[in-house]
Amino acid sequence: MPVAHSPSPATSHGLGHGPGRVPGHVLARTVLAGSGLLAGAAVLAIFAFLAWFSLPLFRGDGLAATLSWSWRPVRGEFGILPMAAGSLALSASAFTLAFPLGVGVCLFACGLGPRPLARLVMAVVRFMTGIPTVVYGFAAAMLLTPLVRRALGGSGYCWLTAALGLALLALPTIVLLLHARMEAAEAELRLTAAALGLTPAQKLLHAVLPACGPGLFAAAVLGFGRCVGDTLIPLMLAGNAAQAPASLLGSLRTLTAHIALVVATDSQSAAYASLFACGLILFLTTLGVNLALRGLRRAPAGRRLRPGGSA
C-alpha cells in the first residue's frame, strides 16, 4: 500500500467532507451504526453466555475446585490455575518479544532503513499476515522444535518454542497497524522536522513516534490479544503439560489449548463445565489488558502534545 506523499491534511479534509454531501449517506450511516451495535451486542452476548454457563462452578465448592493448581480429571480435580498461569506467562513473553521488534521494524520501514530494503521488509510483513496460524505452527513444530531441542535440550515442545512462534505470529499485526499510523504522522511532521533540521532518526524517535501514541496503544492491544487468544501455536508447540510454567524449556498449557484439548471430552463431565470458566478468564484477561493499556495511554496524554506544540 504505497502512500502518495501529497500534502496529506488537504487530502484528508477533502475526504472527510466528501461523504456528507452524498445523498445515500443516511443509509450508509444506518448500516454502519447497525453493524457496530451488532458487534457490541455479540460481545456482550458472549460474556453473558460464558458467565451463565460458568455460574454453576462459582456456586458451592466448585470455585475452590476450579481455582486450584491440580488438573487430574480422573481424580475429580479440575484446577485451571496452571493453564491461566501458562496463558499469562506465554502471552506476556511472546508480547515482550514481538512488541519492541514490531516497533523496530516500523522505524526501519519508515526511514531508518534504506528505502528498497524497507519496501521489501513491509512486503514480507504483509505476506506474513496472510499465512494461516496452523502453517506457522506446523513449520515451527518441524523446524524450530528440533532446533531448540538440539541447542538447549529437553523435548523442544516448550514455553520458549511457543513464545518464539507466537511472537512471529503477532509481529505482522503490530507492524501493520503501527506502520500505517507512523506513515500518516510522518507525512504531517515532515516539513516541521525538516525546518528544524532534524535527522531522519531524530525525526522518527522524537517527533513521529511520540505523535503515534494511540497507534502504539492500538498495536499493543491487538498484538497482546493475538498472543493471548491464539490456540494452535501453543497447542502445537508448548507441550501442553497441565503444570504451572516453571522453566523456559519446560512444557506448559495455555487456556486456549486447554479448551481445545478438553472440549472433546464427555459434555456432561465437570471437566467440560470448567471450560466455561477458562473462557471467562480469557475474556476478562483481554478486557483487563485493554482497559489497563487505555489507562496507560491517558496518563501521558499531556506530554504527548508537546512535540506538536513546540513545533
Binding site: 480422573v74 523435548s155 515442545y157 497447542l235 484439548l261 478438553v262 472440549v263 472433546a264
Partner: protein, 276 residues
C-alpha cells in the same frame, strides 16, 4: 432369446445366492443418495475414509464426510444428531447410552503399543517399568537399559480413546506425571516420537511404521497377531455408534463395514476385523 434371458437371470440368481454379501455390499447403496457425516475417534479414520471412497466411487450421488475429534466428540456429535455415525475407541458409558439412546457397533480390535524413537536401543520393557516411567519414578533411559538420557514423556488428552486403553489396560489406572507433554492425535504422537530421540509415548498398533519403534511389552511384541490371539493384553475395540436403530444410508454403511468381504479395509488400517 427368451431362453437365453431366463438362463442368464437364473445364473444371476445363483450367483447372488452363492455370494450374497459381496453382491449386496456395494449394491446395497444403489438407489441411495444424500450425505452421511461421520466424526469421532481418530483411529477409525483410515477405515472410514477407505470405505467412503469405495462407496462414493460406486455411487456418486452419495457424499460421505469423515472427521476426527476423538471419542468424546463422536459420542457428543452422534448423540446430538450432528452426525449420523459417531466413532469411539471405547465402549460407551452407561450415562452416555442413557442420555442419547446410542447404539454401538463394534467392528475392529486395535492394540495400543508403547512407542519410542527408532534410535533408542531399548527393545523391551516390562509393564511395571512403563508404569514407573509414566508415573515419573523412572526418569532416565539408563534405568531400563538405554543410554544415559532423560526420558521425555508424551501422552494424549483425556478425551482420547487410545489414552483410555493405555491407562486402563497398561498403567492399571496409575498416575501420569503432570510434566508429560500432551499431543492431540495418534498422528501428532508419531511425529513427536519420530523427532525426539528420548521420547516415550503410545499409539494404536495400526499407526506403527518405520518412523517409530514399538518395544516388546513383558516379552510380547505388539502386533495385530499378538493382539488377536490374546497374548498382547493392551487392546480395545473400535465402535461405530448411531442414535437409535440405523436406517437407510447409515445402515448400509455400517453393514458395509461389518461385511466379511470388506475386512481387508480394516486389516489394511492395521486392525483386526470383527465382522458379522
Amino acid at each position: 432369446m427368451r431362453r437365453i434371458l431366463s438362463v442368464l437371470s437364473c445364473a444371476l440368481v445363483c450367483l447372488a445366492l452363492t455370494l450374497p454379501a459381496s453382491a449386496a455390499s456395494l449394491d446395497s447403496f444403489k438407489g441411495l443418495s444424500g450425505t452421511l457425516d461421520i466424526a469421532g475417534g481418530t483411529a477409525h479414520i483410515p477405515v472410514m475414509t477407505a470405505a467412503a471412497k469405495k462407496i462414493m466411487e460406486a455411487n456418486p450421488k452419495i457424499a460421505i464426510t469423515v472427521a476426527g475429534g476423538g471419542s468424546g466428540v463422536g459420542v457428543q456429535k452422534a448423540g446430538e444428531g450432528l452426525v449420523q455415525i459417531g466413532n469411539t475407541g471405547r465402549a460407551l458409558s452407561e450415562d452416555e447410552v442413557a442420555k442419547y439412546g446410542l447404539k454401538s457397533f463394534p467392528f475392529a480390535i486395535d492394540g495400543v503399543a508403547v512407542a519410542v524413537n527408532p534410535a533408542n536401543p531399548v527393545s523391551g520393557l516390562t509393564a511395571a517399568q512403563v508404569r514407573d516411567i509414566y508415573a515419573g519414578k523412572i526418569t532416565n533411559w539408563k534405568a531400563v537399559g538405554g543410554k544415559d538420557a532423560g526420558i521425555t514423556l508424551y501422552t494424549r488428552d483425556e478425551a482420547s480413546g487410545t489414552r483410555e486403553v493405555f491407562w486402563k489396560k497398561l498403567l492399571k489406572k496409575g498416575d501420569i506425571a503432570a510434566a508429560a507433554n500432551v499431543v492431540a492425535s495418534n498422528g501428532a504422537m508419531k511425529v513427536a516420537i519420530a523427532q525426539d530421540p528420548n521420547a516415550i509415548g503410545y499409539v494404536g498398533i495400526g499407526f506403527i511404521d518405520a518412523t517409530i519403534k514399538a518395544p516388546a511389552l513383558d516379552g510380547v511384541a505388539p502386533s495385530q497377531q499378538s493382539a488377536a490371539d490374546g497374548s498382547y493384553p493392551v487392546v480395545r475395540k473400535l465402535f461405530m455408534n448411531t442414535k437409535g436403530e440405523p436406517a437407510g444410508l447409515t445402515k448400509a454403511f455400517i453393514d458395509f463395514i461389518l461385511a466379511p468381504e470388506n475386512a481387508d479395509l480394516i486389516t489394511a488400517a492395521g486392525y483386526i476385523p470383527l465382522t458379522k
